[in-house]
């Protein structure tokens, strides 16, 4: 009877009696959730979920910051003494830094996002610019030694960021990637350096890049930090005055759009293209594989999936904490949540099935296994683009707003 009255009131309100709004509102707006039902324990509402996304991004950025800060002295030591040990230490520090950052790659919303997105400060590329990496240009700058000058900060991102360190810390050859007409080859300035100077400049360049990236990741963390830029409050308060997001839905759109990193970057560019499945004329195209010199592309993929899992299932260990899965279960779309979780598990399994081989080796030795990885990630992104987007009414953020009807 009471419920019928609520329905009647809502129907009446639907026809324009807005003043009765509070009558249909449940007190508090937060609900205790059942453990084990797919919904995390504790209170749950959309504000809480948005705050959880923000806290997850901030936690992940802080992890990256810690690792990148540790990279700077390691790279400096390698540049200073050039010993195999210090180089190995720098490589290890870079691997830890990039492993941490690759988790954050799936969290490019707010200040890390590209210009045009809500709250964007375009901070991502300065930290990690992949796939924008230009080895030839880096080598030209090794000759000009611009890396030793403040101008490095304003050079193209394809010549700095953590992405360039894959080459600078791991490549040991004395050749370069530029063509014969390039100045460094035509004028012989590269050859004149000699192998030892080349190796030394690579490490010097790497140290300069590590030094350049540190303040950039700190700037990102500060932008989110509640004690500084406090973007965390902006996402939690989406829809309120002062927030970069004019509605909660806009904030959900921004977070979900960041998840689509898995589609165009991970599925197509990191796996599909090197494996010859996407935009590759020859049988395989291993050249565009991520981090080809360190051979860590597979670890990067795993970190990307971990980043996705943190946003989708919750940022804590084993998916603890609020994530999109909680929202899906809460609105009665638990099957969509289960489908995403299953596809994610399948993606992890397909990645594990590559074994100890690097991605490049797997592409050459076991193409069907790489195809299975591609298909598993495709299954995941298909669900994101269809059921997930439909049920939560998500769209790509409108960089240019248009009319609809």
């Amino acid at each position: 009877m009471r419920r019928n009255a609520r329905w009647a009131a809502c129907i009446g309100l639907g026809l324009g009696v807005a003043l009765a709004g509070p009558a249909c509102k449940r007190g508090g707006g937060s609900i205790p959730m059942q453990p084990g039902s797919g919904v995390d324990a504790g209170s749950f509402d959309k504000v809480g979920l948005l705050r959880a996304f923000g806290e997850c991004a901030l936690t992940t950025y802080r992890e990256a910051e810690t690792a990148i800060v540790a990279l700077e002295p390691a790279a400096a030591k390698a540049a200073a003494d050039g010993t195999p040990e210090s180089r190995a230490a720098a490589r290890e520090a870079w691997a830890r830094a990039l492993d941490a950052w690759e988790v954050a790659e799936v969290m490019q919303f707010g200040p890390a996002a590209m210009t045009g997105a809500p709250g964007a400060q375009d901070l991502r590329d300065g930290i990690y610019s992949w796939p924008l990496v230009n080895r030839c240009l880096i080598e030209q700058q090794m000759v000009s030694q611009i890396y030793d000058k403040p101008e490095l900060a304003t050079t193209l991102v394809s010549t700095r960021s953590l992405a360039s360190l894959d080459y600078l810390l791991h490549y040991e050859g004395a050749d370069n990637a530029c063509g014969a007409p390039a100045t460094i080859n035509a004028q012989g300035t590269w050859a004149a350096l000699g192998p030892q100077t080349i190796a030394s400049r690579r490490l010097g360049y790497a140290s300069a890049v590590a030094k350049d990236v540190t303040p950039r990741v700190k700037k990102l963390v500060e932008a989110w930090d509640p004690a500084r830029g406090n973007f965390l409050a902006q996402i939690a308060d989406a829809g309120k005055p002062g927030s970069a997001f004019s509605s909660q839905q806009m904030a959900f759109n921004a977070v979900s759009d960041a998840l689509f990193y898995l589609d165009d970057q991970v599925k197509d560019m990191k796996v599909g293209r090197p494996a010859g499945i996407v935009a590759c004329v020859s049988a395989t195209c291993p050249e565009p594989v991520e981090s080809p010199f360190s051979g860590r592309a597979k670890e990067h993929l795993r970190a990307n999936l971990v980043g996705f899992e943190r946003i989708f299932r919750g940022c804590g260990a084993g998916g603890e904490g609020l994530g999109f899965d909680d929202l899906l279960v809460a609105v009665g779309a638990g099957t969509v949540s289960q489908a995403v979780s299953a596809a994610l598990a399948e993606s992890f399994a397909a990645l594990d099935a590559l074994g100890a081989r690097t991605l490049t080796q797997a592409i050459a030795q076991d193409p069907p296994a790489v195809r299975r990885l591609f298909d598993a990630i495709k299954k995941l992104t298909d669900i994101l683009k269809t059921d997930f987007a439909t049920v939560l009414d998500l769209e790509l953020p409108k960089k240019i707003e248009g009319d609809n009807d």
Binding site: K46, A330, G332, D382, I400, D403, D405
Partner: protein
């Protein structure tokens, strides 16, 4: 000599006599001004928001209408010039300057812009094109206009009533078909897609908390259905007209606040003015003056105002071939407008899924649909197979439309096939994985993934390569507040 009864005039003459009766110019002049200003504002928005670049210069691939592949955008910066011209032409229509030419050009420009790329299609711009096209055939520039001021000999004090009738039919067709499009189980029995849309807008000020209630989605679904199917009737009936217009204002203001539908509410709010008495602007002015003067001015002005149909001007006694032909054409146009939106039923199935007969039929905001499209290009010669994402070929806006519309998927398949052939891959086949979710149902293949789309030609016939819509009801989202108890129920 006794005179017999007067010979009965032919039906067509009686009809012509009826539709050529003169009426006051006031309402249609107001309509002309409103439409002209809407055109100007719309064109200005395109320029101000960068949509001209986004729609005409950013795309590298354009989706063509069947038989209209020759329609292309003008080279830069002529599209900008065209929109500046459109804004100026809107002002000309409003002011009644070179009226017929201006209205005709507005119609041509608005429709041409829509025809350049299928994804540009919007119901409300199609309506604007139709209204301005009809207006170009009407003498609405001969009163209260710069044309009438420039050439007093062309000035008229009355317009033929067919102008009002034709515009009313056009506006009524939009509403009725928008309503009929909602007569589906998804809309009426499951309150979808409104359940999905409202659940995502629970932070709307004042009423947002209600949007979590399924009852609200049902109320708005049924309310929208009844509104669309009946509002023209209530607007046509004098006793309910003012109340109906208040409902129109409330409805379009609400929809415009909740959804990004741009100029649509404004266009409809202006368009339904054709249902009011031909003298309504004078009546409003008179009432305002009476309110200010608080005297008997109202009666005086009412007496001066021409009647709805001015009986003092006799209708023509006989009609030549031209008016008869015009009446036939107008009737054919009305019939076409009334029947063409129903063509989707000839295809069977669910039009929201196969989309055959979807455009040009006033199916306004009828579905929530998202898709994932991946093309597979097979080379029988080499045995290679490539996954091709549509993303590099399209803008974000085009991609969003492609994901839902099979004929667009087919067009891009042909383009991709031609590109692969041109690159020397020989006689390739192009298939597609087109997974689509409609109103929250689990995603299903929209197109037969085994079909080589290069062997399929676009046309008006039923598309056998489109798979049937998934059966079963759409999703029912529950309110967030109910999730705790629901979880407990399901776990017990």
């Amino acid at each position: 000599m006794a005179s017999g009864p007067a010979p009965r005039r032919p039906a067509i003459d009686r009809a012509l006599a009826r539709v050529t009766r003169p009426t006051d110019v006031a309402a249609l002049v107001a309509f002309r001004v409103a439409v002209g200003l809407i055109v100007t504002v719309s064109a200005t928005r395109f320029l101000a928001y960068g949509w001209v670049d986004e729609l005409f210069y950013k795309p590298t691939f354009f989706f063509k209408y069947w038989g209209l592949s020759w329609v292309r955008p003008l080279p830069a910066p002529l599209m900008h010039v065209a929109f500046v011209a459109l804004a100026a032409l809107g002002l000309c229509v409003a002011a009644g300057l070179f009226y017929r030419a201006a209205a005709g050009l507005v119609c041509a420009l608005v429709l041409w812009v829509q025809l350049i790329d299928v994804t540009n299609y919007l119901n409300h711009y199609y309506l604007l094109g139709l209204l301005t096209g009809l207006m170009a055939l009407m003498p609405l520039g001969r009163a209260v206009s710069l044309d009438a001021w420039r050439r007093p000999d062309t000035r008229v004090s009355h317009f033929p009533v067919w102008c009002t009738y034709l515009l009313r039919v056009q506006v009524a067709v939009v509403y009725v078909h928008a309503g009929l499009a909602k007569a589906t189980p998804d809309w009426l029995l499951h309150a979808q897609p409104l359940n999905i849309w409202l659940s995502a807008r629970t932070d709307t000020p004042l009423v947002g908390a209600l949007f979590d209630e399924r009852a609200m989605a049902y109320a708005m679904s049924w309310g929208g259905f009844f509104f669309d199917t009946t509002i023209a009737l209530f607007l046509a009936w004098r006793r309910t007209r003012v109340f109906a217009y208040v409902v129109v204002l409330a409805f379009h203001a609400t929809v415009g606040r909740l959804f990004p539908i741009g100029m649509f509410p404004w266009i409809m709010i202006a368009a339904v003015l054709v249902f009011f008495e031909p003298t309504w602007p004078r009546d409003v002015i008179a009432k305002l003056r009476a309110l200010r003067a608080r005297s008997g001015v109202r009666q005086v002005l009412r007496a001066r105002a021409p009647s709805r149909v001015d009986a003092s001007i006799p209708p023509s006694a006989s009609f030549g071939l031209a008016p008869r032909l015009a009446l036939a054409l107008a009737s054919a146009f009305c019939l076409l407008q009334a029947l063409a939106p129903l063509r989707c039923h000839l295809y069977g199935g669910n039009v929201l899924w196969h989309e055959q007969g979807m455009r040009w039929s006033w199916r306004v905001m009828a579905r929530e649909k998202n898709g994932s499209i991946t093309y597979w290009v097979d080379s029988p010669q080499t045995g290679r197979s490539w996954a091709v994402s549509p993303r590099p070929y399209l803008t974000d806006r085009q991609l969003r439309e492609l994901n839902n519309q099979p004929d667009l998927v087919l067009q891009l398949a042909h383009h991709i096939g031609e590109e692969f052939r041109a690159k020397g891959h020989g006689d390739v086949r192009v298939r597609v994985d087109a997974l689509v979710s409609l109103n929250g149902r689990a995603a299903a293949p929209m197109i037969d993934p085994r079909v080589d789309l290069l062997r399929v030609r676009d046309g008006l016939g039923k598309a056998s390569w489109i798979l049937p819509a998934p059966s079963g009801p759409p999703i029912h989202l529950r309110p967030l507040w109910a999730s705790g108890s629901a979880s407990r129920r399901s776990s017990s």
